[in-house]
């Protein structure tokens, strides 16, 4: 007798038989679960988009005072002053503008470094993890050597040697991000590589490239993406540290780290010069971390 699959969707409850039992779990709990999951993803995403908007779009649709110069007449205005809603620093430079232009630089650098790390480091890690053998031994040793240096120290050493500038800063930070990505990618690749279905693919003679692109990469990418979000945060803080020490972005170009450093001098009397950029930095990195967490949960990355 051929199997006739009955139409389940049209089934209605008729008399006799057993009705389905009532729900045991409260509907409110279910609703809240769905809502909180969505919030945890979209709130940090929205914050990030807002920050990006403020730094890259706002100054071009609404003119703001320059971030690297100001008039002495406007020196040290408090927040909420007319024309300078976050106030000005002791030299009269508008604080909001400094945040915006400093933010531009921070975003550019951290994105460049992360992208470079993802591409170069990712390739290295993938190669080492997938092909193993000599490639893995050599590449892993090199990565180990680079990772052996505390990040900040390495960046400082390079910054010291190459005179401070945005490009040199990107190189210096990449020396840290490339090995980090390489390690993470290698780990993720190894996990996937030893799964039975990969072995099966290889046994049927599928070419390595095809396996990598069709099977390994899709499984490795979620982990890389969530790691890169975390990485951007780390890079921004690291870059801020270099600026803080005066070895990165040079004045008069604004940067968050330099703002915090300058505020150190007047910390006792006027803490807002330290607090404002610190809070902005905190919000930025926290949004990145929260978004990374939410995505990791969504995509089931360990």
């Amino acid at each position: 007798m051929a199997a006739q699959l009955p139409d389940m969707t049209a089934a209605t409850l008729t008399a006799g038989g057993q009705p389905p039992l009532p729900s045991l779990v409260s509907a409110r709990a279910l609703r809240w679960q769905k809502v909180s999951r969505a919030l945890r993803l979209w709130v940090p995403a929205a914050l990030l988009i807002a920050l990006l908007f403020l730094c890259f779009v706002w100054p071009y649709i609404y003119s703001i005072p320059p971030g690297d110069s100001g008039s002495i007449l406007d020196a040290a205005l408090p927040p909420f002053s007319p024309g300078h809603w976050l106030g000005t620093d002791p030299n009269g430079v508008d604080i909001f503008s400094m945040l915006v232009y400093g933010g531009q630089v921070s975003f550019e650098i951290s994105l460049a470094v992360t992208a470079f790390g993802m591409i170069v480091g990712g390739t290295i890690g993938l190669t080492a993890g997938y092909f193993g053998g000599w490639a893995d031994s050599i590449l892993s040793r090199v990565v180990d050597v680079l990772i052996a240096f505390p990040a900040l120290v390495l960046v400082l050493a390079v910054a010291e040697v190459l005179q401070p500038s945005e490009t040199h800063l990107i190189w210096a930070l990449s020396v840290f991000s490339v090995p980090a990505f390489a390690r993470v990618t290698r780990g993720a690749t190894l996990t996937v590589r030893n799964l039975p279905f990969i072995t099966a693919s290889r046994l049927t003679g599928t070419s390595n490239w095809k396996i990598i692109f069709k099977h390994v990469l899709p499984n490795v990418i979620p982990g890389i993406v969530t790691f890169s979000l975390l990485g951007i945060g780390i890079i921004v803080i690291l870059e801020g540290a270099v600026d803080f020490l005066g070895l990165g972005i040079q004045i008069p170009q604004p940067s968050w780290g330099a703002m915090i450093a300058k505020g150190q001098n007047v910390l006792t009397a006027e803490p807002q010069y330290v607090l404002i950029p610190s809070i902005v930095l905190l919000i930025f990195v926290m949004s990145l971390n929260l978004l990374g967490d939410a995505l990791r949960e969504r995509w089931g990355v360990r």
Partner: protein, 330 residues
């Protein structure tokens, strides 16, 4: 009726995941008498394991449980964890599937057994040690004194499972639940462990529930069989009634499971009648009979209303609108 050791009535277990309600166990009832063996058979996801863990109180926080499970008259559902703990490991014990993972890899085997003893009895360390060695001897582990000090990875799979059984028996439980206890073992060891369990059951007068997907085991070792599908009991009968010569399997699902077992007597090169499809998603259970989408004899009324589990013949219950004819195939 009341001489049953374990009485489960209308047990339901559900939890929320990803914004949906997962109905793992959807109204299950059965009984076990002391000294008898009950086999709970079902596919993965049928709710067989979850149901027993609910009775033991081993489900994670936030799981909704309703219904009744009475051990020797004591109601277990609804007890607080600290109250349930008095029964766990002492009155009722459980043995799990993978002995390699059931034992703490960084703790010596003997210590894990004495822990079971000393949790429930006030015994000195050396007395506990002696008792543990006795238990190892009881489960037929050679050189028990030496094994006492070893780590789990130093034992073979069969020996590890014996250790787990020894741990479970530490306080002479009245009920032992073996959850797929032999699934991870090779066939020879499997037979040895099953024989051991039955011997211990006879000697200690325990009730034994063993959970499995293997009908063959049920046929060989069980007194009574309960078949579960999608969280409900679909057939329940003494083993003799279901299997063997003149077996009268009524529910289509059970019949399909039996038919899917390859037999030596079959004609060569005939297609094995496997059951196509997969069990329903426990968060979206159908209104009618849960097996209907995969049943070859499904009719329209099967999808419209779910058959209730009723005792159509003495000692034999099933839930099917169009049960099998005697001895026939689906």
């Amino acid at each position: 009726m009341s001489d049953a050791l374990l009485e489960v009535e209308d047990l339901r277990v559900a939890f929320a995941s990803g914004g949906r309600e997962i109905r793992a166990v959807d109204g299950v009832s059965y009984q076990v008498e002391p000294g008898r063996t009950l086999a709970i058979i079902g596919e993965s996801g049928s709710g067989k394991t979850v149901g027993c863990r609910a009775i033991m109180g081993l489900l994670p926080l936030g799981t909704a449980i309703s219904g009744s499970a009475r051990l020797h008259g004591t109601e277990l559902i609804g007890l607080s964890d600290s109250q349930l703990r008095k029964h766990r490991g002492s009155d009722m014990a459980m043995v799990f599937q993978d002995p390699a993972r059931s034992l703490n890899p960084t703790m010596r085997v003997g210590k894990q057994i004495t822990e079971a003893i000393r949790t429930h009895r006030k015994v000195s360390k050396s007395d506990a040690r002696d008792q543990a060695i006795e238990l190892l001897r009881l489960v037929r582990i050679p050189a028990p004194e030496r094994r006492f000090a070893e780590y789990p990875h130093q034992l073979s799979g069969g020996m590890r499972q014996r250790v787990v059984i020894a741990m479970a028996l530490a306080c002479r439980p009245k009920l032992l639940i073996a959850d797929e206890a032999t699934t991870a073992l090779d066939v020879t060891t499997q037979a040895q462990i099953m024989e051991l369990l039955l011997e211990l059951q006879r000697d200690l007068g325990m009730a034994l529930i063993f959970i499995s997907h293997d009908l063959g085991l049920a046929a060989s070792y069980a007194d009574e069989v309960v078949v579960m599908y999608a969280g409900k009991v679909v057939e329940q009968a003494p083993a003799k009634r279901l299997f063997g010569a003149g077996g009268t399997v009524k529910m289509r699902y059970t019949r399909a499971l039996l038919d899917a077992i390859p037999h030596l007597e079959r004609a060569a090169h005939t297609e094995l009648p496997v059951v196509t499809g997969r069990p329903p998603d426990p968060s979206m259970l159908p209104v009618g009979c849960s097996f209907a989408p995969r049943c070859l004899s499904a009719a329209d009324d099967c999808a419209a209303k779910a058959p209730a589990l009723t005792e159509h013949a003495p000692g034999h219950r099933w839930a099917c609108w169009h049960p099998c004819e005697n001895g026939g195939t689906a």
